[in-house]
């Protein structure tokens, strides 16, 4: 038989935090992916919420395109607060 679809698994450890990628697994459909993810990735109370995404639905930048994607940020250090010199006596800034 053909391989079951691959799902990327995201777990949120508690409310107020974001879901974080923990790994992947194969399952025939979404609900079973959630159920299996519970068995595989939360055996030690690592999370209270699981989110699954079909791996094929993810589009990502490629490492080869690194420069065209991220270079524009390289020469814009003025985007960081530490770029600015402020006299020591100025408070709450």
């Amino acid at each position: 038989m053909s391989t079951e679809p691959l799902w990327e698994i995201f777990v949120r450890s508690r409310r107020g935090l974001s879901h974080i990628h923990v790994g992947s697994l194969h399952a025939p459909y979404a609900e079973m992916a959630v159920r299996n993810a519970g068995d595989v990735y939360t055996r030690r109370q690592e999370g209270g919420s699981i989110c699954v995404v079909p791996a094929g639905a993810i589009t990502a930048s490629s490492p080869d395109e690194k420069d065209s994607f991220f270079d524009p940020a390289g020469d814009k250090v003025y985007r960081h607060p530490t770029f600015y010199d402020i006299p020591d006596e100025v408070r709450h800034l």
């Binding site: 079951e4 790994g23 399952a27 025939p28 459909y29 595989v40 490629s62």
Partner: protein, 316 residues
Amino acid sequence: MNSTETDPREAAFQDLIDADGRVEPRDWMPDDYRRSLVRQIAQHAHSEIIGMQPEGNWITRAPSLRRKAILMAKVQDEAGHGLYLYAAAETLGVSRDELLDLLHAGKQKYSSIFNYPTLTWADMGAIGWLVDGAAITNQVPLCRCSYGPYARGMVRICKEESFHQRQGFESLLTLCRGTPAQRAMAQDALDRWWYPSLAMFGPPDGESTHTGTSMAWGIKRFSNDELRQKFVDMTVPQSHVLGLTIPDPELRWNDDRGHYDFTPPDWDELRRVISGDGPCNRQRMEHRVAAHAGGEWVREAAAAYAAKRRAAEATA
């Protein structure tokens, strides 16, 4: 050879490795690096799931509900570890089905240790203490392996293995503090598992086929002999707490080296067990194949249900 040496992608790859960077699935990598990783990760994944069998053997006969619950949790962990590792291997462009087929056809290997039988309850303690102890010694450096998905899987696995080793030690300690018969059973387990555990680190450095390239590529961080020594140095003092005797008359502290001297395992035996002639090779494989075939109807039913749902969604 010259063509690969001048390949700028290979130079960039080696620079990344030398700078202790991590390789991710979509990066370019040399074919041999990919092949080497697939071989190692698959063998590791197979070991996790075959490793469920020797311990699964004792679940129904655990001496208390507490020990039974612990053993079931441990065996379940091994299944999970197998899954993390198959998933890591799949990022290299192979499928889990393909790897399982290779295992079932005897074309990929698993750790030699799981071809030994678990004869008494004390073996559960000895496996946790020694086999998982040796596995941890091997695996902790793999958390810094140059291939990102493998390293991340190992971080999860190492966290869970710590429970495995501690429960094993505690179980043995309970026997060692029990009746003379229980102490004798614990000693017998150590006698049988000591050398096979030492053999888990693989052949001596001079005879290891993969160590050189694996180290140059940052897949392995220490040689087989270095890891074996580290394991012995760690384990001998633990045996004193148990009050058990390691079955090696040559075992003694060497002040000059700052390590224990010890008798290496029987390499001929290791070769025999790896090549299929261990006490349980055939049994392990038959059980594995039967379990896989026996689960086929479940996978078929799940796939049929998924197809039915897709059809219903399409017409809705």
